[in-house]
Amino acid sequence: MPVVGRGPPFYSFAMARDPSAALADDDAPPAPRPELGELFIAFAKMSLAGFGGVLVWARRGIVEKHRWMTADEFNETFALCHFLPGPNIVNLSVVFGSRFRGIPGALAAFTGLLAPPVLIVTALAALYAHYGEIDALRRTLAGVASVAIGLLFAVSFKMLLPLLRKRDPLAIALLIAVFVAIGVLRLPLPMVLSVMVPLSMVSTYLMRRRAS
């Protein structure tokens, strides 16, 4: 999944809004609080528009269309969801929904995001179970898979560029170690992460402390 683009349009938009709004207390968000039904429908729409990832549409819907959050607030919320485990956009729906309407809001956004596409995918799964052996369909899906893998490499590369530009040897070394452990050696993920996450945390912390 692509990282948050911090393009200038979003920032200029954020600055055009009342700057004091972001400092308001918890009970007074900058835009009118979305109703439960609105949350469900907004997330269902973003989800159904999202081919190959929902993040772009979530940003568009939340920041530009509904103005429920400023671009800064959105980036901050997404950053939180990105470092937590689990599907980022699902985490985002829960954090976003709960911020406005508590647990019912979280459930409304979560259900809106997942229920419609899950129904579609389940229908496709049933079709695949019946017709998956047809040769033409197999060839077609194989072609789609080849493209999807290419897209994944492109996304990884776009995320890699900032690290290459920063010439951050530590980050590159960690990246390569994870790639080899998981992609080449096919080690179990929990095992790899239980070593790599603490290692990366400590070294990042030490590097930052030395830099400041």
Binding site: M1, S47, F51, G52, G53, V54, E76, L80, H82, F83, L84, G86, P87, N88, I89, V90, N91, V95, S98, F110, L114, P116, V118, I120, V121, L124, A125, A126, Y128, A129, T140, L141, A142, G143, S146, V147, A148, I149, G150, L151, L152, A154, S156, F157, M159, L163, L174, L175, V178, F179, I182, G183, V184, R186, L189, L193, V197, S203, T204, R208
Partner: protein, 177 residues
């Protein structure tokens, strides 16, 4: 297709546990999903796994829905629901709790440090996903070339991924790759 409580429980345990290690999102978890689903449990063959990835990419919605397809394959409609909720539910609850604890505007440096520490790991995982999928799926030279071509095209341009996916389907249908 196997069914019954055993496979539902096994789906729930497998994906519930896996979600807690899914840093960097669903695409970063693909190698682990493949290892567990194909190599450990033999729920899907390599080809079925590659097909599931393709269908998930062609469908709207979050990328995590590949587990919905896997769940259906294992235990039908109920399996699809159990797999999806197990992969999304526990981490969603965790995200809710953490966001409550951190509050709206936290000035602690730790979120930034954690994020900086996890970014290289999640890129490593995503690149590994690409490799694992390519080995699983690209069985011909033409398919491997198509993957490479798309990687360059999508990396260098802003083409809509959906058109590229459809073009891949057409090329596959025509027997070109």
């Amino acid at each position: 297709m196997s069914s019954g409580d055993t496979s539902l429980g096994s789906l729930a345990a497998t994906f519930g546990l896996m979600s807690l290690f899914a840093i960097g999102g669903a695409n970063a978890a693909v190698p682990e999903i493949h290892r567990v689903v194909v190599d450990v449990h033999h729920w899907l063959t390599d080809r079925q796994f590659a097909d599931a990835y393709a269908i998930a990419q062609l469908s709207p919605g979050p990328n995590v829905l590949i587990v919905t397809l896997i769940g259906y394959q294992v235990a039908g409609v109920l399996g699809a629901m159990v797999a999806t909720l197990s992969m999304c539910g526990p981490t969603a609850a965790l995200a809710y709790v953490v966001s409550r604890v951190l509050g709206r505007s936290s000035h602690s440096p730790w979120p930034a440090i954690i994020q900086a520490a996890l970014v290289p790991l999640s890129i490593g995982l995503m690149t590994a996903s690409g490799l694992v999928l390519a080995i699983t799926s690209d069985r011909t030279l033409g398919a491997a070339l198509l993957t490479a071509l798309v990687a360059v095209l999508a990396g260098a341009t802003r083409l809509n991924p959906l058109w590229l996916l459809i073009a891949g389907g057409v090329l596959g249908f025509a027997g070109v790759v």
